[in-house]
């Protein structure tokens, strides 16, 4: 009595059953793989966007740390950088090199750096005056800072990376007259995509130099 029952339970799959099982497994597997791949891609895009938003926020904060107390934006060269008159400790409304900060845009490296004069602390007043020169409004601030850099008296810090491009726009005729301007930044998200952001820069203490 037991034998036929055992034989039935030992029966293998028929070809149709096997093909059906394989087909269902393949369909299910493909569906699951598609869903998971889409989810993974979506997560990657989301993570990259999140990172870009955080970087935009950081970039905005770092720019503002300089521009909020600043006096004036002195010059801008597309693809090169922005010159900021940060402070006027002598209150003489004249610009000396140590009062200037230059934001350099290095599109090839994808960074924005800020450079300032950095003189030895033990210099006397006369030596300092030789290097910390007063600059006329029409001076080439970029060239002056580069000359100082060649002598080894500047310090540079990176304030942003992953930057494909950064450009400054403002309303009105001259940059110096404006108490505010806008930096439009293109952030590199990955090899193929970028994201645009902007940061408004305002100088409540705006003063034009003599």
């Amino acid at each position: 009595m037991m034998r036929p029952s055992r034989k039935t339970s030992r029966r293998g799959l028929t070809l149709v059953e096997l093909l059906l099982a394989i087909s269902i497994t393949v369909i299910l597997g493909t569906a699951v793989a598609t869903v998971l791949t889409a989810a993974a891609r979506s997560m990657t895009v989301s993570r990259n966007t999140q990172s870009a938003v955080q970087r935009a926020h950081a970039l905005q904060s770092r720019f503002r740390a300089y521009t909020d107390p600043a006096m004036c934006l002195l010059d801008y060269r597309e693809g090169e950088g922005i010159v900021l008159w940060l402070e006027d400790p002598n209150a003489d409304t004249r610009v000396s090199l140590s009062e200037v900060r230059i934001f350099w845009v290095h599109a090839d490296e994808g960074t924005v750096t800020v450079e300032r004069a950095d003189f030895p602390a033990d210099w006397d007043v006369d030596t300092l005056a030789t290097f910390d020169i007063l600059l006329s409004p029409g001076a080439d601030f970029f060239a002056e800072m580069q000359a100082l850099r060649a002598l080894g008296y500047t310090k540079t810090e990176t304030i942003a990376d992953g930057v494909a491009n950064a450009e400054l726009t403002w309303d009105g005729l001259t940059l110096r007259e404006q108490p505010r301007a806008v930096v439009r930044v293109t952030l590199q998200i990955d090899d193929d995509s970028t994201q645009q952001t902007i940061a408004c820069l305002g100088m409540p203490n705006h003063t034009e130099p003599q």
């Binding site: 055992r6 293998g12 799959l13 059953e17 999140q50 935009a56 108490p179 902007i198 820069l201 409540p204």
Partner: protein, 155 residues
Amino acid sequence: MRKSDPSRTRRIVTRSSRRGLTLLESLIATTILSVVVLAVAAALNASQKLAYEGRQRVMGVNAADDMMVELMTVPYAELKTYNGLTQAPGAMATIDGTAYPETYTNIGRSVEVVAENITEPGMGITVAGVMITVRADDGDHTLAELSAFRPEPQS
């Protein structure tokens, strides 16, 4: 009494373990798999939603902060003209008219400028000025709200 053949018993057990799945077992397995996949998908979806909301909030803070920075540079006498300024999502622009990039499409903002006197009780000083409030929103919810007092300039 008949002795059992050990090799025969082993063969029967082995053969029995090779039997296929019943329909019920298959259905249970499929159901469990579906529940697991659905749970994972739901978790991923929730995580994406949270990440999106987080991004919106950061961008809301950026947008509100931008407007506040601009208002701090506007001449004091003109500040009240900005009271009630509203920029709907997708229509944000700087005070000078620069449009915001596509990234900010879902964010709008509004400005409130109210005259206010702040009294410092310890020193007995009252400072006249305006309280500026900037709100960023996504059309339904407030994403960020910033307030700052700007004192009236002394002539």
